[in-house]
């Protein structure tokens, strides 16, 4: 449990003023692309074994073993294999991939190349969300450089192997961060998640075997290849080894992306970001809003993939994008914001999610406007139990996000919610149809356009 030096951000200084974009020459000068050279001499199975041994768990939210995921790809290559890199980072609170892509894009590209070798992928698509204009330009430029220096193309580093890498821009849909939704978006369709099975490893994009990895996962790969699985396991906890980027935002003195090993406590992570601003700690979203909230008494919860779930009562660590809130934050409004996000971003494929989140938003709007009743809380808790892939009513996990946010917020801040929803209310209860001309609620949810 020692974390002496940054790993993923070793080329990205902590101080924003010192940061400089790492282009090809700088990257090679600091030891870059050496691991790709080494990987070219290894067999795919050896690379997969190294990564599996390191215990690297996917950094995109679910925390699934990366090596195991790669091993699901058919060993015998009968058709084109694809790698889809998930850079559609749109979970509120998460901004680590942007940090990696905008400052050190070649680290990701090396990871992509190694992953392609391990799983015999021919083409890698980097799916970047539409709003990352800057990041897209940087990655495109880095890919151009990589092609120029023979990292990608028909002759990877002179070995005759063929890897292609392209950027595919999204167009502003949160659901495309869901792996199968992303595949649909790459195919030029609406980003509706697919039913599984077949799993993407068997029939993914264009019906071919597809590996899907998060940017940060791929960035870890060159370091594992360089220093070995045993070194990787010296960091973090036994079940979740390795370094992790923590995206600290909200009421903090120095918000930003910080690297530390997995398994630091919530208090440590807050101290890392300069401590609380404007008041004492009240709650923290622990990894993107879909994971739920950690309350005052949970400052000692370890931020790894398991402890947050078992002791913290949240869905998981997610992307480790922390939104820290101080004592002056209105939790009812915070939850309204979370639910509004899901109501807005629900793709509309499954009814429990589409209708459930829209109605939850309306109920919360009502509570925020001061028309809350005790029955509303019961209704919210009943609704959240019926939606999501865990109760089995939806295809993807977006509704689970709504459910866990609602569940953890209401349970952990029950007094505040109960105060907003009195047993007897003197106010006339009405559905706000128009909220000051600002948001016109329609039966299909609000639309800002």
């Amino acid at each position: 449990m020692a974390f002496p030096e940054p790993v993923l951000t070793k080329r990205i200084p902590l101080n924003p003023a010192d940061r400089k974009k790492v282009w090809y020459n700088d990257y090679v000068a600091t030891g870059g692309y050496k691991q790709l050279r080494a990987a070219l001499d290894m067999s795919g199975q050896d690379i997969i074994k190294t990564v599996t041994d390191s215990g690297l768990r996917g950094r995109g939210g679910a925390g699934f073993s990366a090596g195991q995921k790669w091993s699901f790809i058919p060993k015998e290559k009968k058709t084109t294999h694809y790698l889809a890199v998930n850079a559609d980072e749109s979970e509120p609170g998460t901004f680590k991939d942007r940090h990696l892509m905008e400052w050190d894009p070649h680290q990701m590209l090396e990871g992509i190349a190694i992953a392609c070798l391990a799983t015999q992928c021919d083409i890698a698509y980097v799916f970047i969300r539409g709003e990352f204009h800057h990041g897209t330009k940087v990655v495109e430029q880095a890919i151009k450089e990589a092609y120029h220096h023979g990292i990608f193309g028909n002759n990877v580093m002179g070995t005759g192997k063929k890897i292609d890498c392209y950027v595919h821009r999204g167009a502003g849909a949160y659901i495309c961060g869901e792996e199968t939704g992303m595949l649909e978006a790459i195919e030029g369709k609406r980003g509706w998640p697919r039913n599984k099975p077949p799993f993407p490893a068997i029939a993914g994009v264009f019906g071919r075997p597809t590996v899907i990895n998060n940017v940060e996962t791929l960035c870890c790969v060159p370091h594992i290849m360089e220093r070995g699985p045993a070194w990787f396991k010296t960091m973090g906890t036994p079940s979740s080894p390795g370094p992790k980027l923590y995206g600290m935002s909200g009421h903090l003195n120095r918000p930003g992306v910080y690297e530390h090993e997995l398994g630091i406590t919530l208090q440590q992570s807050i101290d890392m970001a300069g401590g609380m601003k404007g008041g004492a700690f009240k709650g923290a979203i622990c990894g993107g809003i879909s994971m739920g909230v950690l309350a005052q008494h949970q400052l000692d919860v370890k931020l790894d993939f398991d402890d947050v779930r078992f002791r913290g009562g949240c869905l998981g660590l997610g992307t480790a994008g922390m939104i820290v809130m101080n004592e002056h934050t209105n939790m009812v409004r915070a939850l309204r914001n979370c639910v509004r996000f899901y109501a807005h971003e629900s793709c509309g494929q499954c009814t429990p999610c589409r209708e459930g989140s829209a109605w939850m938003k309306k109920i919360l709007d009502r509570i925020v406007d001061g028309y809350g009743k005790a029955r509303d809380l019961e209704m919210l808790l009943e609704l959240e139990k019926t939606m999501g892939s865990m109760p089995g009513t939806t295809i993807c996990g977006l509704a689970d996000g709504t459910a866990w946010a609602t569940r953890t917020f209401i349970n952990k801040y029950y007094d505040e919610f109960a105060a907003a929803c009195p047993e007897e209310t003197t106010k006339r209860v009405s559905l706000p149809i128009s909220r000051g001309n600002r948001e016109v609620a329609t039966p299909m949810g609000s639309n800002t356009r």
């Binding site: 800057h134 999204g170 502003g172 949160y174 195919e187 609406r190 264009f206 809003i289 939104i323 600002r438």
Partner: protein
């Protein structure tokens, strides 16, 4: 006959210049066709390209894209209506997108929106009468560490206050094509 019948058979609908010009077609064919195994996958990049050219996606352009990519127009509409970033009605020259998600909201993003709306005397989602500015609020922009943030066309502005955003808006050039991301400086010349 006392009236003049319309000669429908020989009437040609006045076809204006195609929106998907040969130049755009060539660009799509050269850049994107080799990347994907089928043409439909080029739909998102093609829509992006048309939007970049015309600032929105006119219905006629969608039809031309459908023809060019050999898919049904309905499939293009199906995809284009799903994604929020595609504007299927005209928008202002400058699109001001203020983030409203949790990190930004607790860092007072509301003040930014209110300020912009007051400055241009419009509501969220509206365009100024001179077609210069459109203001929208949208969900997370992925820069929560520097909240509150706003995106003006392609350029992200971080750590904003109403005053800082005001200064940014006053600096905008007349032609949006002159408005470039100052952070993009490519060191090497490839």
């Amino acid at each position: 006959m006392p009236w003049i019948a319309e000669d429908r058979r020989n009437t040609r609908v006045a076809q204006s210049q195609p929106l998907l010009t040969d130049e755009l077609k060539k660009q799509i064919a050269d850049t994107y066709f080799p990347r994907y195994p089928n043409k439909r996958a080029c739909l998102l990049p093609a829509l992006h390209m048309v939007q970049h050219e015309y600032n929105w996606i006119p219905p006629a352009a969608m039809q031309e894209i459908a023809e060019f990519l050999e898919i049904a127009p309905a499939e293009v509409i199906d995809t284009a209506t799903f994604y929020e970033e595609y504007w299927l009605k005209p928008k202002g020259k400058y699109l001001i997108q203020v983030c409203r998600s949790l990190s930004c909201e607790i860092c007072d993003s509301r003040k930014l929106t209110d300020h912009v709306c007051k400055k241009y005397n419009i509501e969220v989602g509206e365009t100024t009468p001179d077609q210069r500015f459109t203001v929208v609020e949208l969900e997370c922009l992925g820069a929560c560490g520097n909240a509150p943030v706003a995106l003006i066309n392609d350029v992200m502005h971080e750590d904003l206050t109403p005053e800082a955003l005001d200064a940014e808006l006053n600096k905008l050039p007349d032609d949006p094509h002159d408005y470039k991301d100052p952070g993009i400086k490519f060191a090497s010349g490839h």
